[in-house]
Symmetry: C2
Subunit: 130 residues, 2 copies
């Protein structure tokens, strides 16, 4: 790899997982995400549409999540690496601060990499989200 | 690798994906699944519990699904390979025969490999399943 070559999918996957294991999710967004990132949830909510476009909106979504959830534990399993895409399996134990409701959730995220940046993240849940 | 060594996670992942792309999902169960396979859905239904144990029950679950769904298209994206686990991203366009309802669904499956066989599969959905 020359100095100018974009980072490989596997390298980006490892860096994302390392940062998330350290609780540095916002650093991962800043370092690894494309300005044109598209973030897709299964369903939208009252305060958040299902699809969010652009680095500012995705940073805002992450900041909202961390400010509204107390994270008791976060397990980051993976990465699982394919061609131009990789997946990560997350398990969170959280309390949603506005309601005080504690819950465990487990999900998979599928990331698409282009030119050394994450351009799309799509989330898949193990719990019904309706 | 010696002849006695179990197949690697990557090799099993590739074989599963190849068989599923050919519509040979039941062959994949027969060839690659452990007799003690555990299959985990997000939620149970009227006819199927969320967790199914053992190769006979998992074969039955697959046969039920294929006999009750007309598959218009099946996209198999991956595999995404990790250490002792791999993921596959599926997108199906199906009609559920009992109701005639046509739907697109996309899901990820996380597979766990032990001694050269798939011992666990867990499904994550992009649509609410409730």
């Amino acid at each position: 790899m020359t100095a100018a070559a974009p980072a490989s999918t596997a390298a980006i996957a490892q860096e994302l997982v390392s940062l998330c294991r350290a609780g540095r999710n916002l650093d991962a967004v800043a370092r690894l995400y494309s300005p044109k990132i598209v973030s897709v949830e299964p369903v939208g909510g009252e305060t958040m549409p299902a699809e969010v476009n652009g680095i500012d909106a995705v940073r805002g979504k992450n900041e909202w999540w961390f400010s509204n959830n107390e994270v008791h534990s976060a397990e980051v399993n993976g990465p699982f690496v394919g061609e131009g895409q990789f997946a990560v399996h997350y398990t969170f134990e959280t309390t949603f601060k506005p309601t005080g409701q504690r819950a465990q959730m487990t999900e998979m995220a599928l990331y698409t990499v282009k030119d050394g940046k994450i351009v799309r993240e799509q989330f898949f849940y193990h719990m019904p989200t309706a």
